[in-house]
């Protein structure tokens, strides 16, 4: 990645070497003079820029106005369409699971209606192995129950009850966790109820997901959380309560085999939350349904102190609806905040 390749020509020094700047889709800043200069002039009384105030007279921003810094990971150029990593059958199974994790219908969208499966498929297709920075070299940890000798040569033995404290230590990449985990989910549904997961009734499906959730909870020392009504004695239980018997959890782990059922559940749940609430450019959160669910106006340039105390009428807006900040650059304004400066460059 060289920064120069996707940047408009900035005013000033031009001291950097490298290829001449070329303008790309991401860097096209057009129809933006309406916002010019708002706010970024000096003086002790200045309070930010207020681009929203100028919106009513301005040209609506379009996708082409989106400016992204070049630093990875970048959002996809286009919204993924159709499964690219998962098979159609895997998508059907995943959606059956999503429909229980976050249920919904057309009136009240859940994970399926929001397009979370598309989000997850896109994440798996785009990132091999990981979407976030991850150290992937061994040796890897292996849990032991009684003695470190249980662990094979080349693996680092860790007491089973301590392993959760070390965070993510898996050697299995998410693509494999999904592929093997989904297959195991069906295997487990067959073992418990004699049918594929997607063909089970909702209660049965929930029963299975409770087992997976409890496998995950059991692997951690549950924090001491007590819930209570205000000013009252302890009443309702908190999170982290395992309600499934050890025998049932052991059976699930055995049927899942190579994949940890709790880890698989946790990964799907985390990805579901991402898919519900990430910008729609990533494939989920269709019609901004996730943001509407929680009442988040999402990408906004500013709120006033009054809005902080009394709320806002601003409606959810995706990144592509956001006016570009400081669009009048590079031709004017204060140089202190801008690149390039002499003296900074790749070594």
């Amino acid at each position: 990645m060289t920064a120069d390749e996707t940047r408009p020509q900035a005013g000033g020094s031009g001291a950097r070497t490298g290829p001449a700047p070329t303008v790309t889709r991401r860097s096209v800043l057009k129809s933006l003079s309406v916002l010019g200069g708002a706010g970024l002039v000096g003086g002790a009384t200045l309070v930010g820029c207020t681009p929203d105030a100028t919106r009513s007279t301005g040209t609506a921003a379009t996708a082409d106005d989106v400016h992204q810094p070049d630093r990875p990971p970048l959002p996809p150029d286009e919204t993924p369409k159709g499964p690219r990593f998962l098979t159609d059958q895997e998508v059907r199974l995943l959606e059956a699971m999503l429909a229980r994790l976050v249920p919904g219908d057309d009136q009240d969208p859940g994970a399926v209606q929001m397009g979370v499966a598309t989000y997850i498929d896109g994440k798996l297709a785009d990132f091999a192995p990981y979407a976030e920075p991850t150290y992937t070299h061994g040796p890897y940890a292996a849990a032991y129950e009684r003695s470190p000798d249980e662990v094979e040569q080349g693996e680092v033995p860790v007491a089973e009850a301590q392993l959760y404290r070390y965070g993510y230590q898996g050697s299995r990449v998410p693509r494999d966790t999904y592929r093997l985990g989904l297959a195991a989910l069906d295997r487990y549904a067959q073992t418990r109820f004699g049918r594929f997961f997607a063909d089970l009734g909702q209660d049965r499906q929930d029963e299975i997901l409770v087992v997976l959730d409890d496998c995950n909870q059991r692997s951690e020392a549950a924090d001491q959380i007590t819930g209570e009504a205000a000013g009252d004695a302890t009443s309702d239980a908190g999170a982290g309560v395992v309600t499934t018997s050890d025998d049932v959890l052991d059976q699930a782990e055995e049927v899942f085999g190579a994949v940890d059922p709790g880890g698989f559940f946790s990964m799907v749940r985390t990805d579901t939350i991402e898919g519900m609430f990430a910008d729609p450019v990533y494939g989920g959160n269709q019609d901004l349904a996730g943001w509407r669910l929680v009442g988040w106006p999402a990408a906004q340039r500013s709120y006033s102190p009054d809005e902080m105390l009394h709320g806002t009428d601003k409606q959810p807006r995706s990144m592509h609806g956001l006016p570009v900040m400081n669009p009048d650059r590079p031709d004017g304004g204060e140089p202190a905040l801008e690149r390039p400066h002499h003296g900074v460059g790749e070594g």
């Binding site: 706010g39 009384t45 150290y135 609430f277 906004q300 806002t312 900040m325 690149r339």
Partner: protein, 588 residues
């Protein structure tokens, strides 16, 4: 191997302290300085004129160090194996021009006068027997009064927003009455207050506590700093921690110290460069650093003075990696002091409330648009009848909430299952109605908590990773119980309809974010037998090597470190500029 012309100063890292040194030393001298930064260049415009993409910045860590290339390992104690920190959890060191201070939350504290004499104060007041056997806390070699002028300069450089509590000895209403005596008020008024922060303030006043607005390195209004940089006030957009600020309201090297330093023409930052080691001559003095650029080519940059100005953990690691005939255990480690007194911070939210009919607009503002109390920090309260030493700042949850990173745990303690129809409907109803009162507690030093090189894991350049050996002790567990009860009292006083309290600290775990405030490992002191550097960060056994940053802290108080990191860097800069280059040698 490429050999560069010698310069006066080379720094490992191009972040906060490097830019402070450059901005103070270069303009009035003819000295030359080079910084080697592992990440890319980045500027407010156009790099942060970005879309508010919380997936990319919160969950995919766009501003952070690339752990796939190099990371750290951790174990709870010496009996347990160490394993790599494979994905982000406990802390978030950044990379790129300006370093972690570009994505920081910007709480800007002066440590309390008592913080600088943790050991002697507790011994005098409560007796030696109250210091646990393996606790290795020690007094700082300087006191609050030594740092006051530098805190003052830093606040005016940054345009800190806040309300003074102790101006020239006079206690002012609405500020922090426990703060040290300050000579000037903050340069800017406090940030706008949030609804939740206001509720916390009212509740604390009702409990006879002393709430005050968070001192923030974020401008509450337009400000022109002493270098002539003119910056805009905060827009309260809600995308702050983990993001670069698109208007430069959040102070960073990019907004403040880099422009005057680069304007001299004698400062160069080389990005994409990974330092391998500090080079030394036969007499043990440093001669420069060896590094690799993005293409893998090796370079040597010779310099009169080498400054370890990277993140805390990497500074300690560079010292240990720089082994040679003169320093067989690494630079600064001739007396086995490097790695000692590694400490951290107890950053938890033990009390959570649900208000059934109140929206708080948590998605607006930033991490500083809230209030604090210091009534239970340090020795601001009597410990005679308590089973622990130290304390914490207590604060109301601030703004900048977004659903991707908050929804996973928001309803813990409030619903049984964190999924399903019940979870969904409660999340929809309550996402903006659940708030926490949290603590940032001090972390004393212990003999069993330390840093050294990992015997197994190596980074992309084949160098051993730094190994962290760390866990909580009884003192912190007892402190947490006490503070959790105080937080719960406040949440109740705030009128929550439901309250969930987590009293137990639980074992330290590397996968849960607490704070990017690891400290120690190259601590400052008065005696080379119990420290790595003097009070200027000058390494005792290699006096032309300096360390900046929180690795110098003997132990970690209950407040964010950057204010003190900055004040110490200004003090070191003055000493280097006015004294060291006139007469190289020990600065005493």
């Amino acid at each position: 191997m490429r050999q560069h012309d010698a310069v006066d100063i080379v720094t490992i890292g191009g972040g906060m302290t490097a830019s402070i040194l450059a901005s103070q030393i270069l303009p009035t001298t003819s000295l030359r300085m080079v910084s080697l930064e592992q990440g890319p260049a980045q500027w407010t415009y156009p790099d942060f004129a970005h879309n508010h993409d919380s997936l990319r910045f919160a969950n995919r860590y766009a501003m952070m160090q690339d752990l796939s290339r190099t990371t750290w390992t951790w174990r709870p104690d010496t009996r347990s194996p160490s394993l790599p920190y494979r994905q982000f959890g406990t802390f978030h060191p950044g990379q790129g021009l300006g370093g972690s201070m570009v994505h920081w939350t910007a709480l800007t504290w002066r440590f309390l006068p008592d913080d600088f004499r943790y050991r002697s104060l507790n011994e005098e007041k409560y007796g030696r027997h109250r210091i646990p056997q393996d606790m290795t806390t020690q007094d700082w070699p300087i006191g609050y009064d030594d740092l006051e002028p530098f805190y003052d300069r830093l606040e005016y450089d940054m345009g800190v927003s806040g309300r003074a509590g102790n101006l020239g000895g006079e206690i002012l209403p609405g500020g922090n009455p426990f703060e040290g005596r300050r000579n000037r008020p903050y340069p800017n008024p406090p940030l706008a207050r949030s609804k939740f922060g206001q509720l916390f303030t009212d509740a604390c006043e009702g409990l006879d506590l002393h709430p005050f607005p968070t001192p923030a390195g974020i401008l509450s209004q337009g400000y022109t700093d002493p270098y002539g940089n003119t910056r805009a006030g905060c827009l309260y957009c809600g995308f702050c921690t983990r993001y670069g600020c698109e208007v430069g309201a959040k102070t960073s090297p990019l907004t403040t110290w880099l422009p005057p330093a680069l304007d001299t023409g004698r400062y160069e930052v080389r990005t994409g460069c990974r330092v391998l080691r500090i080079e030394t001559a036969d007499d043990g003095r440093a001669t420069g650093v060896r590094y690799v650029d993005r293409r893998g080519e090796e370079h040597v940059q010779r310099a009169e003075v080498v400054v370890c100005s990277a993140f805390t953990l990497e500074n300690v690691r560079e010292l240990l990696l720089s082994r040679g005939d003169a320093h067989p255990e690494g630079i600064g480690n001739d007396r086995g002091q490097v790695g000692r007194n590694y400490s951290y911070q107890i950053n938890q939210a033990p009390a959570k409330g649900l208000w059934e009919n109140e929206n708080f607009n948590f998605f607006m503002g930033n991490g500083c648009t809230t209030a604090q109390i210091h009534d239970y920090n340090a020795d601001n309260f009597d410990h005679a009848d308590l089973d622990f030493l130290g304390g914490a700042r207590i604060y109301a949850e601030a703004g900048q909430r977004e659903p991707i990173s908050s929804s996973s745990t928001l309803l813990d303690g409030l619903v049984d299952r964190q999924w399903g129809a019940g979870w969904k409907s409660m999340l929809g109803r309550s996402w903006d109605r659940v708030g926490t009162v949290g603590i940032e507690g001090d972390s004393p030093a212990y003999a069993g908590n330390f840093l050294d090189l990992d015997p197994t894991y190596r980074d992309e350049w084949g160098l051993p990773m730094l190994r962290i050996t760390f866990d909580w002790r009884d003192n912190e567990r007892a402190m947490h119980r006490f503070l959790a009860d105080r937080c719960a009292e406040i949440v109740r006083a705030m009128g929550a309809d439901r309250v969930s309290v987590s009293r137990e600290l639980g074992p330290y775990r590397i996968d849960e974010y607490q704070s990017t405030h690891p400290t120690g490992g190259a601590i400052m002191g008065r005696d080379p037998g119990e420290s790595v550097t003097n009070s200027y960060g000058q390494v005792w056994d290699t006096p032309n090597v300096f360390v900046t940053g929180a690795a110098l802290f003997p132990q970690n108080p209950g407040a964010n470190p950057s204010g003190t990191v900055g004040a110490l860097a200004l003090r070191t800069a003055d000493a280097l500029r006015d004294r060291y280059f006139a007469r190289p040698g020990e600065l005493l």
